[in-house]
């Protein structure tokens, strides 16, 4: 009797394969026998000492569960073997199978179907000698002063107001309702900011960026309630919000304005001796950020080169799943660059509003970078992950273990590993690239032209 699985593969669409796997009757019988024998030796039934109950009695009592478990194990092993034998590179989880409908039967082969999306096949361009522009960034006095201003605002005190003016923070009860009356969010203690003058009336509420936020909000005071109507972004992680006509109400409980702290007070609060010492410390920190920005600028060019020169047919189902993951990666990227948390949220709201093209581009990059890492044999060690966590913790002024805990809690460790792998691969490409340096302004002009 044959003990090898029969596997039939058919193309069910672009990057989609349908596998029909048949496990021979002998294997099914052997598996069932082993499972029941193992259970018989372990089980204690009334009237019998452990392992003394008759096999048939155990089978009658626990047969259904044993068959279900044996089916899951056989299916999983057969699927893994088939994937390994056919050398399929699978993306996402298998789906569309009939596994729930088929049962294990004695003396009969076990046959099931499953659909898998596979890694798209494509050719990578040459990874050597790419032309890269390196912006020469400097930490000037103005940049340091701007940073000090931000710190003063962060360390500032809140002053209660009766009516909201541009830049004021409103705290209250926010609710987001969909077109059919379904409630997506109902938050007490939500915070919105009345758009400051430089934002041209654009504002954010419950993670949704609204172009005419200021116009819809109009004049508002403590105890007032205002309603914002907006369309849900295409790529929002909550499916019901995507492209839906949303109504958001906000009842104001409190209005606060941030009064910036005096620089002398900030210097004292930070335990520094003088303003100059603080400037030096900030300059040093910004210097590290500048290096990261330079690196990011070069990485962007590598990414653009790879995206422009590679043609990839994307698997449809995974594309949608990736959209949600992409948002998380972007958030991580912004955290790594040391962007302030509220700015990250604003940026995320804008990202959600971006078209699905962005998600497709990111997914394409994911596949391309996967292949690049494979070709360059890029590996990520635990030490590198710890280093990156420490770096991010320093930028956010939290302890590394707190940062690590937060990443684990929000399931972002894998995204971090992918980010490090991508950065290492890109650095390897940059090391073999033709780099030409240019001033920051020239670089910005050039980048604008490149789009």
């Amino acid at each position: 009797m044959s003990t090898t699985n029969k596997v039939n593969v058919i193309d069910a669409g672009p990057n989609l394969k349908k596998l029909t796997i048949e496990v021979p009757a002998a294997v099914v019988e052997e598996k069932l026998k082993t499972s029941i024998d193992m259970l018989t030796s372990q089980v204690t039934l009334p009237g019998f000492r452990q392992g003394r109950a008759p096999r048939q009695y155990v089978e009658k009592k626990f047969g259904a569960n044993v068959r279900r478990d044996a089916k899951a194990e056989l299916a999983s092993k057969a699927f893994q073997d088939a994937v390994a034998d056919l050398k399929l590179k699978i993306v996402g989880d298998p789906s569309g199978g009939n596994l729930d409908k088929v049962d294990l039967q004695d003396g009969k082969p076990f046959s099931f179907e499953v659909e898998v999306e596979i890694l798209p096949e494509f050719e990578l361009p040459s990874l050597e000698g790419i032309e890269i522009k390196k912006p020469m960034l400097e930490v000037t006095e103005d940049v340091v002063n701007e940073e000090i201003k931000k710190i003063c605002i962060n360390e500032g005190a809140l002053e209660s107001r009766d009516a909201a003016e541009a830049g004021d923070y409103l705290t209250g009860h926010a609710k987001m309702v969909g077109p059919k009356g379904e409630t997506f969010y109902d938050l007490q203690g939500a915070v919105v900011q009345k758009p400051s003058k430089d934002k041209n009336g654009k504002g954010m509420i419950l993670g949704i960026m609204v172009e005419d936020f200021d116009k819809q909000m109009a004049k508002a005071g403590v105890g007032d309630e205002f309603t914002i109507k907006a369309k849900g972004p295409e790529q929002h992680e909550v499916e019901g919000i995507r492209n839906a006509d949303l109504t958001m109400t906000f009842k104001i409980d409190r209005i606060d304005r941030i009064i910036a702290a005096k620089i002398e007070d900030v210097v004292k609060a930070f335990g520094l001796e003088s303003e100059q010492q603080m400037k030096d410390a900030i300059k040093q920190r910004l210097g590290v950020n500048v290096q990261i920005q330079q690196q990011s600028a070069m990485h962007s060019q590598v990414a653009k080169y790879l995206a422009d020169t590679t043609k990839v047919d994307l698997p449809a189902r995974v594309t949608a799943q990736q959209a949600a993951r992409t948002l998380e990666r972007r958030r991580l990227e912004l955290m790594y660059r040391g962007i302030e948390p509220h700015k990250i949220e604003e940026h995320m709201a804008e990202l959600r509003a971006a078209s699905s093209v962005a998600a497709q581009r990111d997914l394409k990059m994911f596949f391309v970078m996967f292949r690049v890492a494979e070709q360059l044999n890029t590996q990520v060690t635990q030490q590198e992950v710890n280093q990156r966590i420490t770096q991010m913790a320093m930028q956010r002024n939290v302890r590394p273990d707190q940062m690590a805990q937060e990443l684990r809690r929000t399931n972002q460790v894998n995204a971090l590993v992918t980010q490090i792998r991508d950065h290492k691969s890109m650095d390897a490409i940059i090391a073999k690239a033709k780099i030409s340096e240019m001033k920051a302004e020239e670089f910005n002009e050039w980048a604008k032209k490149q789009g």
Partner: protein, 96 residues
């Protein structure tokens, strides 16, 4: 036991224990828990009716159980009856 009682009331359940399994495997004797009031004749008739087999011999055992002192007095459990059945020829009962 009243006359013409339903077979299901006479036979409670097959008794599955190590001892009864041994008796079944080695001596082809089946053990059942039966109504304590049932006679051997009634047990024989009930088994033949329920399992469509021919019974050769019936042995019965009345089991007394330990009484227990509880808060409200002495609890004396009801007696139970076991019947050990020997079948004729190659007749068998599917217990599992």
């Amino acid at each position: 036991m009243p006359a013409n009682v339903e077979a299901n009331y006479v036979i409670h359940r097959p008794l599955l224990s190590e001892k009864s399994t041994y008796a079944l495997n080695e001596q082809k004797r089946y053990t059942f828990v039966v109504d304590a009031r049932a006679t051997k004749t009634e047990i024989k008739a009930a088994i033949e009716k329920l399992y469509k087999v021919r019974v050769q011999d019936v042995n019965t055992i009345r089991e007394k159980h330990k009484s227990k002192q509880v808060k409200f007095g002495l609890m004396i459990p009801a007696e139970t009856k076991k019947a050990i059945i020997k079948l004729q020829g190659d007749d068998t009962i599917e217990l599992f």
